[in-house]
């Protein structure tokens, strides 16, 4: 009896961690775009949704397996992001009163546009992304580890590592970090903040869309799932604290675990209510992020 409960607990935690990896992948670029553009992008969940549909399309339209199509997904959405970013930048730096709130409203409009368009185009039927490249389940000591989830987790770790490599070992990465900390100083040092914002936003959109494909292989989705993933990304970034890459890692895994534990031990119906409730509490206790001090990257 004790063994069974222990096994369930371990399985639940591992399931949570595996999903948490994907939350890290959708939040890490988002966190940085937030830092550099100084705008909370309310469209983050829509990039996940659009990416997932691109996964469906790759198979249906081009006959390419979605996993093999991931690099193309990155390029396509990076391009879109590169085109959208200057508009956000323009609103954010405009001389109108309260540009921060207007920029918020702007990304909100983009999100609604994306959602409405996709709802009109594909309707309300739930979809999944089908792949043949990854299948089966790995069994270790009675634990079930579906290869798809492992692959998703691996992707998340890999892209996070690449992203951190970019941030810490390239010149552009240094400029990004400088800008995220202090925009005025960055521009005084000769950094083209506008161009940099576009680059960061492009990478972020591309990464998030790729994560969307992988999420689509695990969970079914409709054109309406965007806001839910937006809130999950907010959760991670709020908990991590603005601009903290290490914090995103911990917060993303924590969120995955929290969700899995609540689903198993309290009930799936309460998952979102509890996640949103916890997010609300985190905001109240520490709007700067609870992990910021300990893990500031």
């Amino acid at each position: 009896m004790v063994r069974v409960t222990m096994q369930l607990l371990i399985q639940t935690i591992i399931d949570g961690l595996l999903v948490g990896g994907l939350y890290v992948a959708i939040s890490i670029g988002f966190s940085l775009a937030f830092g550099v553009l100084d705008v909370v992008d309310f469209a983050v969940g829509e990039w996940v949704m659009l990416g997932a549909f691109m996964g469906v399309a790759s198979r249906a339209w081009f006959g390419i397996d979605p996993i093999a199509f991931l690099p193309a997904v990155f390029v396509i959405f990076a391009l879109i992001g590169f085109l959208v970013a200057p508009l956000i930048y323009r609103v954010r730096t405009s001389r109108y009163a309260r540009p921060a709130l207007m920029a918020l409203a702007f990304t909100f409009g983009i999100a609604m546009f994306a959602r409405g368009t996709m709802m009109t185009a594909v309707g309300f039927d739930p979809r999944t992304v089908d792949t043949d490249l990854v299948s089966g389940t790995l069994m270790i000591g009675g634990l079930h580890l579906p290869w798809l989830r492992l692959a998703g987790f691996l992707f998340a770790i890999l892209s996070t590592a690449l992203f951190m490599g970019f941030l810490f070992f390239t010149r552009t990465g240094l400029a990004v970090r400088a800008t995220a900390q202090n925009k005025r100083n960055a521009s005084l040092m000769g950094i083209d903040v506008k161009r940099l914002s576009a680059i960061v936003y492009a990478i972020y959109a591309g990464m998030t869309a790729m994560a969307g494909v992988l999420i689509g292989t695990i969970y079914s989705f409709t054109a309406q799932v965007g806001p839910e993933y937006s809130l999950l990304a907010f959760f991670v970034v709020v908990m991590a604290g603005l601009g903290s890459v290490g914090g995103v890692l911990v917060a993303g895994l924590f969120l995955g675990m929290l969700q899995a534990l609540v689903t198993v031990y309290i009930g799936a119906d309460y998952t979102l209510a509890i996640v949103f409730g916890v997010l609300f509490l985190i905001l109240l206790v520490s709007p700067q992020g609870v992990l910021r001090r300990g893990l500031a990257a």
Binding site: V39, V40, L87, R90, V91, S94, R95, Y96, A97, R98, A100, L101, M102, A103, L104, A105, F106, F108, G109, I110, A111, M112, F113, A114, R115, G116, T117, M119, T120, P227, L231, F234, F235, V238, D269, Y270, L272, A273, I274, F276, G277, L279, F280, L283, L284, P287
Partner: protein, 342 residues
């Protein structure tokens, strides 16, 4: 974004005449249009009231609330629950109850959340509304995801006038409080510069909280009327995020922080959505449309549609198109107070 100051709200002959025309039009509407159009205009009245209520916290106080549907839903559930068989409350008596519950709820959550700035406040209110919707979905006394029915009432005209009068009262309250009393100055001062407002003796925490509570209590009344009107409510219909979306978009499209902005935005958008529904039979296209419209308004017309009115105080759009220099762009000291009169 501009404040609807004393200027825009001053009752002159020029503004009284259109007002009288609108009032007569709305008051006599059921006499000369069919049921379908009465229902459409009931919707217009409701959304105008909702967007105007949202405008209190979003436009006048400068806090973007993405969770306002919670207050609408609280009102709806208050009415529906109190009218259940066994309780059988009178419909009109349920409305103030909903408003009070929503107001108390706003007071409790507003006190900590209003310390949060900008996007964090938006996220917190959104999370709260989503959590509430999930909770209502699972507990019993709200009927869970199945929802609740209210006693049927088929009189279209009754709901039209109920909604119209409620929204008109909301408008009157907003006009009196924000355009005609010193409380309006306090709220706008806090919005524009909190530190300066404090240095002038304004208790900013209390002012923000009062505005938030007002902004929450008013939509609850409309939620209650709506629950009675549509005779059946569930979390998908009265706690859905897109209700908040519409309040935000209508206020922004009409003109944030302007008295008439929300009414204009609500009328234009609700009529367009009705038109789209009638001609294409889908409401999803509407979401795409208002999303695109919102983005375009923010980019090109931040003052909203009221910014197009001939007497708009500062013609920002025109200035922008003509690339007129903005004085604030030049941080250096100005040698003189005289300025070119435009």
């Amino acid at each position: 974004m501009r404040a609807g100051g004393a200027n825009s709200a001053r009752l002159t002959a020029r503004s009284v005449i259109p007002l009288v025309v609108v009032v007569v039009f709305l008051a006599t509407l059921p006499l000369w249009v069919d049921d379908y159009w009465v229902r459409v205009w009931t919707g217009v009245a409701m959304w105008a009231g909702l967007a105007a209520s949202w405008n209190i916290i979003g436009g006048y106080a400068g806090y973007i609330s993405f969770g306002h549907v919670a207050f609408f839903g609280i009102g709806a559930y208050a009415t529906a629950i109190l009218m259940q068989p066994g309780l059988d409350w009178n419909f009109f008596l349920t409305l103030p109850v909903g408003a009070v519950v929503a107001g108390v709820f706003a007071f409790i959550v507003g006190w900590p959340t209003l310390r949060l700035r900008g996007a964090y406040f938006a996220i917190a209110t959104w999370a709260l509304a989503e959590a509430l919707a999930q909770l209502v979905n699972t507990v019993d006394f709200t009927g869970g995801s199945f929802g609740l029915s209210t006693p049927g009432n088929a009189e279209t005209g009754f709901f039209y006038y109920a909604m119209l009068i409620a929204s008109a009262l909301i408008y009157l309250i907003i006009f009196a409080v924000f355009e005609r009393s010193r409380f309006g100055y306090k709220v706008k001062a806090v919005r524009d510069n909190e530190a300066a407002a404090q240095s002038l003796g304004i208790n900013t925490t209390s002012v923000k909280l009062q505005a938030f509570v007002m902004s929450a209590a008013l939509p609850a009344v409309l939620g209650g009327i709506n629950a009675y009107w549509i005779t059946f409510i569930n979390p998908q219909s009265v706690l859905a995020g897109d209700i908040t979306d519409q309040m935000v978009v209508m206020a922004l499209v009409g003109g944030l922080g302007h008295l008439w902005g929300p009414a204009i935005g609500a009328t234009v958008l609700y009529l367009s959505s009705t038109w789209l529904n009638a001609h294409f039979g889908s409401s999803t296209g509407y979401i795409a449309m208002i999303g695109a419209l919102l983005a375009l308004i923010v980019l090109f017309l931040p003052d909203g549609l009221v910014g197009l009115m001939p007497r708009a105080r500062n013609m920002r759009l025109v200035r922008q198109m003509l690339r007129l220099p903005d004085r604030r762009a030049d941080p250096g000291p100005d040698p003189d107070t005289s300025r070119e009169r435009s």
